[in-house]
Amino acid sequence: MKYSYIKPRAKSAITSEIKLLVSFFSMTLVMLFLTYGFLLYKDYTFMSDKAAYAQERDNLATVIEQMKEEISYIEKQNLLSQKIYTQNTVLKDSITNLFDLVPQRITLSEAKLMKNGLILYGITPNKEVYSFMLQAPLRSIFHKTYSSFYPAENGWLHFVSTNYIDEEDNLLDMEDEDEN
């Protein structure tokens, strides 16, 4: 005796509802894990990028430091060389001025230029020519001027002129000029 018109089918635990649920949750879980994986990967790349940036920055800092040292050394070299070149030029001007200072009637036989002084040896027709034409300008330049004479064979006078700049007075003069 039959109670149903359809044939009986085998019952399964995995019903269509379960399948739907599992597929829904598996998609959700896959998405979640993928996101987590992505975050982990990014975390790793961030860390490695950060380390690389820090390394590069350290390298750059070292190179910059070296270049700064080189720059300061070149600037130092430049400063010193300019100072020396200026000293040479000033020396040249000083010697030019010295020889321009000596009048035609006085003949120099020797000139000793020192850091703070000048000694001139020469011959002059008489003391007056020396006093007016050489000693006067020398006095205006140097703080201390000493002259000595002795007769030459031709009736002229040999002279030795020793001139010094007082370093302390010179410094005071420079300070006064700065104040003005």
Binding site: L32, Y53, V63, I64, I74, K112
Partner: protein, 188 residues
């Protein structure tokens, strides 16, 4: 009142609740904090990158400045590197003098961290103008040379006998100081 729920539905509900709890726990306990950390890391990385760019810009600027300085001061740099060669100096500057003689090359120590050695010079010139020209030429020579006091000019017939001291400046490097020691006893 009796609730009639089939076993099938109970299974379905339990799986749903379990999975839902798992998703929620995973999201709130792991994913959201990780996401926050990701955002923070991204901001920090951008900051690092900005810092790096600053360094790169500064590096480029410094390099440009250094190259400019080097090209502008090429002569000075090579002059400080050069070891003083008395023969070469004589050859280069003989034209300003009737005779030129260098003697007593000796190291006198350090000045502003540069090695300095002193060269005594005796020469004969036909006129002071030759000496002025020499002073101009010294500033363009292969070495950094300062003509120093005392300077002595003495009439010698038609010529002027001159003697003066020169200070030669060099880089303070082991290479130079060694060679300086080697030059020290030399007399020209």
């Amino acid at each position: 009142m009796k609730i009639n729920i089939s076993r099938q539905h109970i299974y379905l509900l339990s799986i749903s609740i379990f999975l839902l709890i798992f998703v929620l726990v995973f999201s709130f306990a792991v994913l959201i904090p990780k996401g926050k950390q990701y955002r923070e890391d991204r901001v920090e990385l951008k900051k690092e990158l900005r810092e790096l760019r600053k360094y790169q810009d500064f590096h480029a600027q410094t390099e440009e400045k250094l190259q400019e300085l080097e090209s502008k001061n090429r002569h000075i740099i090579t002059a400080f590197d050069a070891i003083f060669n008395p023969d070469r100096f004589e050859k280069q500057h003989r034209s300003y003098f009737s005779s030129l003689k260098l003697s007593q090359i000796k190291g006198i120590g350090l000045e502003e961290n540069f090695v300095v050695y002193e060269v005594n010079t005796s020469s004969q010139i036909s006129s002071p103008k030759s000496f002025y020209n020499f002073l101009d030429a010294v500033n363009k020579s292969d070495w950094i040379i300062g003509v120093n006091f005392p300077i002595d000019f003495k009439r010698d017939g038609e010529l002027i006998r001159s003697s003066f001291t020169m200070k030669v400046y060099c880089n303070n490097k082991d290479k130079n100081t060694t060679q300086l020691k080697e030059t020290k006893p030399e007399e020209k």
